[in-house]
């Protein structure tokens, strides 16, 4: 499995912009630190099938119903997006 940062890990809940809690250990961890090897990735737009990158922190959501398609940004958490599908 690929390594993930805590802030990209499924079992990380952010406290604020720099740190959060690792639900698996109950510990406070830094957002930008690497999580242990086997940690599952958080569904985010950047991991979604419908995400088409355009530039570094911007992209298009191919799943959007608007015309033209609405933008999306890679870092957005997608656990609530019903259209999310793993890449």
């Amino acid at each position: 499995m690929e390594k993930v940062l805590y802030r990209d890990a499924r079992n990380y809940v952010p406290i604020d912009v720099i740190k959060g809690i690792d639900h698996l250990t109950g510990q406070t961890v830094m957002a930008d630190k690497e999580a242990p090897k086997d940690y599952e990735a958080m569904p985010k737009c950047k991991n979604c099938n419908s995400f088409k990158a355009e530039g570094e922190q911007m992209g298009i959501c191919e799943g959007s119903m608007s015309d033209p398609k609405f933008f999306a940004y890679p870092d957005m958490v997608a656990v609530t997006c019903e259209m999310y599908a793993n890449k």
Partner: protein, 904 residues
């Protein structure tokens, strides 16, 4: 080294000692009462104490995405759909140890921008949108407002975190989307559209000048368009979400296609009910997402106790997603959910839970009786609520969140008052609410006692104990005075005696109308109070009275900027009466222009950005089928004119009257020169202290103004029971309370006076030159509306109360008096009794509000020098409690300088 004012005065044999009624002990004295919260609460509090205020784009993104898809839809439906999508996509954030869950955004202390209201303020300063905001005057106040440098404020960008508006931390990865979303609202936001149309007011240019000179602190319609009101939890508690949807479906069928005699908006009821259904479905999905997350956490958690708790959370959420709550903890979770839902619907400060102890009492009574919960467990939940409420942030500009709110969001919880039948409404749960205020000392919810002579003595004594924790709460608000005001203001809307008694405080200290509704639980009926009025502290915001006087003296020109604000009056101002009359004319011009422009902003808000969720919670929206924008609320005459700097104005008028006109010690021309030259002192910002005593004399000034400055400082001052100056206060109040009613809100009701200053005395002082009372340029005004200027109340607290009670306070929505007392003065039971006597004396004189900072000034001085040692220190600012380290320096200086009473 340049000499400070206190040294100059000491040389002249005048003490600037800020103690009154004795001498404080040399040693620093701690607060008398301290207790600890439950261990789980302590852990969550520790997290909060180390948490940065954080914002993200999630809600903004989904709201915008949905909204932009429906440009041909009816506005209320479009808004409801956007809200539904945004709520349905909010990522749940649950933290170990919580029992009551749900957050504004997916951070512990999270928030998000609402560019549909305003977008210019969080652009880079070089961005054209920000420059535009500066030109309009809406960003001027940002330059005079500062956040405290400590606590959770992200005052500077660092690493991968960008600081927005000097407070909110945003991840770098979110910034491009945040700006893109903001730009999508350009020309569409309430701010932009409002500005387009307010420009059609003939005197719009004067309004721009008023804002740029910081005569008025900020616009009303797009900054915090709702709040300073009391929420109503009744419908979700009585019917549940499914019940509300069912009710709306039935009513929709009843009104479809019918005007029922109302050719203007009768037909709108159909769309409004549909909007209620859509928005409620969004809330259900939001709750459901949290329930699913709790189930997921239960699965991955090993600790059996924590697993059980996640299971319990999931079960409660799954139940309240559809049904009315059955138990105390379900009801508590329901109102937490509703509270956050409303706060996410709009930029809001001051959404008060109101008389929450009376709303939750039915569940408390039955659970205790059945042995389903213990008082200790209830106390723990009340403590948890304090962590949740303190974590509520509101994303707005520096001027609004820093300059006005000091980072607080004023979720005011009221206890006491009278019940529907006129008896004391205090119940056992309210004792526990006060107790939680001691064990879990955090700024929110701030507490207010709705004082009535019928309240039990032991309850009032407990309130005194809480005050002695030094938390700055509970405040005391006078039920009798408030009820007189309510009868006068809302009589035209049919308010009866029962409804008058349902009032509570919205925000810091805004008297807000309420109603009683019958709640049914296991076959028993309880009448519970809740809000039934529109937002207050909307309309004409914070007019700086000392600044209007400055413009009066300088013929309509702002001497700080050199810009013409008002038409020149070209009068000689040869008599005191002429000054007073001209002051009133400029005051009225200010109110007139601001009432018109702000009405337009609010009108844009009601057309495109109306409340759906907050609306349908409030009687009688569901019954009538009309939301806030169509006068669905039972009480709609809630707009006001807000004053700021009352006592600085009163002292200044007294000094002018005495020195220039009565005793003729100095000519007006010389007084004006002295004001312009700041009595020979440096500007406060140069000195970097905002309290008078610390100001430094300029070397080039020598003793040019020394004599005059002494006289100005020694002229009669408010707060000493002195008729000369109290008569000036009386004249002002009589004028203001009457004049405010001449302006009409967009809803067709007359406005009323509102006399809170929040933190505006800091930034407004910063933009005002020296004043005739001897206050120096850039220093703060006296805080609140009835507090004395620091160090000028020399005759003890009872003299101060007499001065404050000079006028009929029932003519105003509120007034505000804060007193600082050394902890030794209130020690023990005797001390508590004396404090209660003092409070009662003021209430009996008709005073509306009184509150105390029980703190040793030396502690505050030390906290300013060593903020790291005082992360937990709380103080009462104007109408609210806040962490010392999160308050801007100007207000900190003013708090240190306030007169400290050594005896009561």
């Amino acid at each position: 080294m340049a000499k400070k004012l206190k040294e100059v005065l000491a040389d002249a044999g005048i003490s600037m000692d800020l103690q009154s009624g004795g001498k404080a002990p040399e040693m620093m004295v701690d607060r008398e009462v301290k207790r600890a919260p439950h261990p789980r609460v302590k852990k969550l509090k520790d997290i909060y104490m180390d948490t940065l205020s954080s914002a993200n784009d999630e809600f903004t993104y989904w709201y915008t995405r949905e909204y932009m898809m429906h440009d041909s839809e009816i506005p209320v439906i479009r808004r409801a759909k956007a809200l539904k999508t945004a709520f349905a996509h909010s990522t749940p954030a649950i933290y170990p140890g919580e029992l009551l869950v749900m957050r504004k955004a997916s951070y512990f202390r999270g928030s998000f921008p609402m560019p549909w209201l305003s977008e210019g303020f969080y652009m880079a300063h070089e961005d054209e949108f920000y420059q535009e905001a500066l030109k309009r005057g809406s960003a001027s106040v940002d330059e005079h407002s500062k956040f405290g440098q400590g606590g959770g404020n992200v005052t500077k960008s660092f690493g991968k975190v960008v600081s927005i508006a000097g407070k909110f931390g945003v991840r770098q990865e979110e910034i491009p989307a945040m700006l893109k979303l903001a730009k999508m609202w350009y020309g569409k936001s309430v701010d932009d559209l409002g500005n387009k149309y307010e420009k059609m007011v003939p005197e719009y240019k004067t309004k721009e000048q008023i804002m740029r000179s910081i005569i008025c602190m900020f616009d009303s319609g797009y900054t915090l368009p709702q709040g300073r009101e009391v929420i109503n939890y009744y419908y979700p508690l009585e019917y549940g979400f499914d019940g509300i949807i069912k009710m709306a479906e039935e009513l929709k069928a009843k009104v479809a296609g019918k005007a029922d005699g109302d050719g203007m908006v009768g037909m709108n009821r159909l769309y409004n009910y549909e909007a209620v259904i859509i928005a409620t479905q969004g809330l259900q999905k939001w709750v459901n997402n949290y329930a699913k997350e709790a189930r997921r956490l239960d699965k991955i958690t090993k600790d059996p106790k924590q697993k059980e708790e996640y299971k319990g959370i999931a079960e409660r959420l799954e139940w309240i997603e559809h049904n009315p709550p059955r138990t105390f903890i379900e009801a508590f979770q329901m109102i937490e959910t509703i509270h956050l839902a409303v706060l996410n619907e709009d930029a809001i400060s001051g959404m008060s839970p109101g008389r929450m102890g009376q709303v939750l009492y039915p569940y408390f009574e039955q659970d205790i009786e059945a042995g389903r919960i213990t008082e200790d467990e209830v106390l723990e939940l009340l403590e948890l609520d304090r962590v949740a409420k303190t974590s509520i942030d509101c994303f707005a500009s520096t001027g609004v969140v820093g300059g006005v709110l000091s980072g607080n969001t004023f979720n005011n919880l009221c206890v006491g008052g009278l019940d529907k039948d006129g008896q004391s409404a205090v119940n056992r749960l309210e004792y526990l609410i006060l107790e939680a205020g001691i064990t879990m000392a955090m700024p929110q919810p701030t507490l207010s006692v709705l004082y009535d002579e019928k309240l039990p003595e032991d309850f009032l004594m407990l309130a005194m104990e809480v005050i002695k924790c030094g938390t700055g709460y509970p405040a005391f608000m006078n039920s009798r005075t408030a009820q007189e005001f309510l009868t006068k203001q809302y009589g035209v809307e049919g308010m009866n005696l029962e409804d008058v008694r349902a009032w509570a405080i919205g925000g810091c200290l805004e008297t807000s109308p309420g109603v009683w509704k019958p709640l049914h639980l296991n076959g028993k009926e309880y009448w519970i109070p809740g809000g039934a009025g529109q937002p207050t502290s909307v309309g004409v915001h914070f007019i700086s009275m000392p600044k209007v006087l400055e413009l009066t003296l300088f013929n309509g020109v702002d001497p700080r900027t050199g810009e013409k604000v008002y038409e020149p009056h070209n009068k000689k101002l040869g008599t005191y009466e002429e000054v007073w009359e001209q002051f009133k004319l400029y005051w009225q011009k200010t109110c007139e222009v601001l009432a018109l422009t702000n009405n337009i902003q609010h009108d844009i808000w009601r057309k495109n950005n109306m409340a759906v969720i907050n609306s349908y919670l409030k009687p009688d929206c569901l019954d009538k089928g009309h939301l806030i924008n169509e006068l669905g609320y039972r009480y709609n005459g809630t707009f006001s004119v807000e004053s700021a700097g009352t006592i600085t104005l009163v002292n200044s008028l007294a000094a002018l009257k005495k020195l220039v006109y009565d005793d003729k010690e100095v000519s007006l021309k010389t007084m004006k020169e002295a004001i312009k030259d700041n009595f020979g002192f440096k500007d406060a910002r140069e000195v970097n202290s905002f309290s008078l005593a610390d100001q430094e004399i300029r070397e080039d000034a020598a003793d040019k103004w020394e004599k005059l400055h002494f006289k100005a400082l020694q002229a009669p001052k408010y707060g000493n029971d002195e008729k000369y100056v109290d008569d000036i206060l009386l004249a002002w109040e009589n004028f203001f309370c009457e004049d405010a009613t001449k302006y009409e809100s967009l809803y067709g009701f007359k406005m009323y006076p509102c006399q809170i200053s929040v933190s505006t005395h800091g930034p407004m002082g910063s933009a005002t030159l020296a004043t005739p009372d001897g206050r120096l340029s850039g220093t703060t005004f006296a805080d609140a509306s009835m507090s004395a200027f620091p160090g000028t109340d020399r005759n003890g607290p009872y003299a101060l109360l007499n001065s404050a009670a000079t006028w009929d306070q029932a003519k105003s929505q509120n007034s505000q008096l804060n007193i600082k007392i050394h902890p030794t003065a209130t020690r023990g039971i005797e001390g508590s009794k004396k404090l209660l006597d003092l409070t009662r004396a003021y209430m009996r004189k008709g005073g509306f509000h009184i509150q105390y900072n029980i703190v040793d000034s030396k502690v505050l001085q030390d906290a300013q020098k060593n903020p790291r040692n005082y992360r937990d220190l709380m103080v009462r600012v104007a109408g609210f409690t806040q962490y010392w380290v999160e308050i801007g320096k100007a207000v900190q200086d003013e708090l240190i300088a306030r007169t400290e009473y050594e005896g009561v």
